[in-house]
Symmetry: C2
Subunit: 456 residues, 2 copies
């Protein structure tokens, strides 16, 4: 038992629960402000570990994430560790590869300040919203109690900090698992070099499922296969794995290796993907949730880490405005950030659904062409949603509102155009002996066309 309750005149203690990407960045933000920062992480210190368990992390760092790193002076350091990814490379079933321009990519490593202490092997068991007292379980079976002035829950989609929120009334919460799972397979180097071009996000789009591959610093690629759970479960033998790859990803078999494929497919079951939304993000002046603990998103907009990093800047901006008064900062953070995080969670889910359902809809394809054309004609008025989300810091919910507004304007324009065409048509028809039956037939045809387009 130890107790680090702050004494008058001492530095306030901020406990960051979770030493992942958002936790580490948050620790830097609080340390920079001069707080005594204690980071608590369930796992052991991987810098000293013999075997690192768990999955690899490949993450796309875009504008919002870079801005957050810049605030703590780490942008250049981290971007230099990353592998730039300036284009997507689409692998067709035929094996043909076509590049499509894109963004940038990075890998992130935590950095610590002198007034920051990292506490590994600390598994949060319980904490009090009244006193800020936390209880941690240690690997030897003992328990440690520690008090903090502010508890920052950065402990991911299955947050232990959040459990306390769920016990309280008027906490809105949703967790939604999607029918797709994912599986990671490693593509080894070939003759000591990357087996495919490294500066690309490689994509094998196959309608209801897909595979992507991202380069690692050790010249391997991590291939991630996304597929409905029921499809994963249909494959039960090594031969069925090869048969499946032969049918859908033939060019990947020699690159991953048939034997590795047969073995690695069964190493771990397919992993689930969850979308978490909640509100409020805080309890009193004692605790706040950030990153995946507050808003886990499905990985179909590449914004999970960027949204978590942006959480840190937004909180920091509010700390400035309210002079570090937690009692005022925390409610304001909830008020400002909830709509944006909900917007990005919804967008990621929308992209997932769109990927599966709309891709073959005539209306959808028609609208994509119209939108691209309008962006070319009016680049400042009609901005594609993807651009606003990935390359700016436009608030997520504002980006979505603007997108809906553009959508409405474009749809109305199309309908007005159709009505105009009807007018024009009727005018031409009535110039010669007017025939009301012909008009009715023409109207019905146009009506049916519009109706067919609107039904995906």
């Amino acid at each position: 038992m130890e107790d680090s309750a702050p004494r008058p005149g001492e530095k306030k203690v901020v406990a960051v629960v979770g030493g992942g990407l958002v936790g580490a960045l948050n620790a830097c933000f609080f340390a920079k402000r001069g707080f005594q920062v204690e980071v608590y992480e369930t796992r052991e210190d991987i810098r000293c570990a013999n075997v690192v368990r768990g999955r690899s992390i490949n993450l796309a760092l875009s504008h919002r994430g870079r801005q957050a790193l810049k605030h703590v002076g780490m942008e250049e350091k981290i971007v230099s560790k990353g592998i730039p990814m300036n284009a997507r490379m689409i692998h067709a079933l035929s094996g043909k590869q076509s590049p499509i321009p894109y963004g940038k990519k990075g890998q992130v490593k935590a950095e610590t300040y002198p007034n920051t202490k990292l506490n590994f092997d600390h598994k949060l068991q319980d904490w009090s919203a009244e006193t800020g007292l936390m209880t941690f379980a240690r690997p030897d079976g003992s328990k440690t109690q520690v008090r903090a002035d502010l508890i920052v829950g950065c402990d991911g989609a299955f947050s232990a900090v959040r459990k306390q929120f769920l016990r309280r009334s008027r906490f809105n919460y949703s967790q939604t698992y999607i029918p797709h799972g994912y599986m990671e397979l490693t593509m080894p180097p070939k003759h000591g070099e990357f087996a495919m071009k490294p500066n690309y996000l490689h994509i094998w789009p196959r309608n209801t499922f897909m595979m992507i591959a991202l380069p690692n610093l050790d010249k391997t690629f991590t291939c991630t296969l996304f597929m409905p759970f029921e499809e994963f479960e249909k494959i039960t033998t090594g031969d069925e794995v090869i048969e499946f790859f032969q049918k859908y990803f033939p060019d990947a078999i020699p690159l991953i290796g048939a034997d590795a494929l047969k073995r690695d497919y069964f190493r771990l079951p397919a992993q689930a993907m969850v979308s978490v939304k909640c509100s409020p993000y805080h309890i009193g002046d004692k605790c706040v949730l950030m990153g995946d603990a507050a808003h886990a998103v499905v990985p179909f907009y590449g914004q999970g880490m960027n949204a978590g990093f942006e959480d840190c800047i937004v909180f920091d901006e509010i700390m400035n405005r309210f002079n570090e008064d937690f009692g005022a900062v925390l409610p304001e953070y909830t008020r400002v950030r909830v709509p944006d995080d909900h917007a990005i969670a919804d967008l990621a889910m929308y992209n997932y659904v769109e990927m599966r359902a709309h891709v073959n809809s005539k209306w959808f394809i028609f609208r994509k062409h119209v939108d691209n054309l309008l962006h070319l004609l009016m680049p400042k008025t009609i901005i594609p949603l993807y651009t606003m989300v990935t390359f700016t810091r436009t608030r997520y919910h504002v980006a979505v509102e603007r997108w809906h507004w553009q959508d409405k304007v474009i749809n109305r324009g199309l309908l007005a155009g159709a009505v105009g065409a009807v007018f024009g048509g009727s005018y031409l028809l009535v110039k010669n002996p007017p025939n009301i039956n012909k008009l009715a037939v023409a109207a019905e045809k146009i009506w049916n066309k519009l109706a067919a387009l609107n039904t995906p």
Copy 2:
């Protein structure tokens, strides 16, 4: 410690956790089939209690609920205990009362079969999805362990059974609190009789808030005030309560009594209302959730209890189809019932939102008139949603689909009508010297009218 694990040849044990309305009815359904039924209830046996704590229950029993009661031969018994409620009585601000025809109402009392045991003072602490072993805490601080072949979680919106589901992967769950709270106030009898006409649901609609009153057998009324929490919190003194009632419910002050009002308003804080949706409803062949534990709804469609009762019939029908094989019955129950429960939860929420937002929209009022007119003209084709939900056993999600379909047809009809009017108009215009400018102006006018209607 006791252990009621079933031995070969013995009757299978069904543990119903929660002795509320749905738990009690479910116990009857399982007992009727010959299972050994054990009902576990956290609270003490209110039949022997001196003081019954908690809130009164007033519930509207409609078609679905009655059908479920009929299955266990309890319909007549329970309906005879209820107070028929054939109309709504609307209280205007002026005090004027206007009746509107409506449905029926009842109060429900649990009934037990000989092969059913009621176990009060049993608070579920934990249970195993592998073995069916449950651990209960007893009032004396001891623990009891009991094993069952099937655990039926009927323990309400804050279900203890459901906690185990939340720990598992791929369990979808959402809990949404609405910004309104509610408060119950008692209207005493007047000269030994009901203070208002008893066979009515009394309603005081006041835009963003409202009060309702339902009759009890002891000739009192339970008045329920629904209002945003922030409005409740603005009232802090007895005088402010009277001021508030004077402004919005002046006719209720003498009926409740000014002194009682001043006192009872502060007896309990306003209560929260939550909507819960989840999926799946089962784990393996061991556990299933029903009633509020599976789908708590906000009380704005009067279907909470009826949906819970219908759960029991639906489960019973599936038990027949799959010959009481839990391994087949439970997944089928999830497959069949989830879409219907989600539909009624959404409808109740939709009614809540509509009540607040759409009530003043021109388009909404216009459409209500059109819908009512169409129901009069085509009573078999266009059926109002409320009728399908309340007076039939049409599956909830089918009722909603049908409603959306009707909605689409009616909206398209209106649009087609508008296009027709444009045609007619243009035809008349071009009979005289055709003037394309006039046509454009007319088209714009019609377009603006339609656009204005579509924007609430």
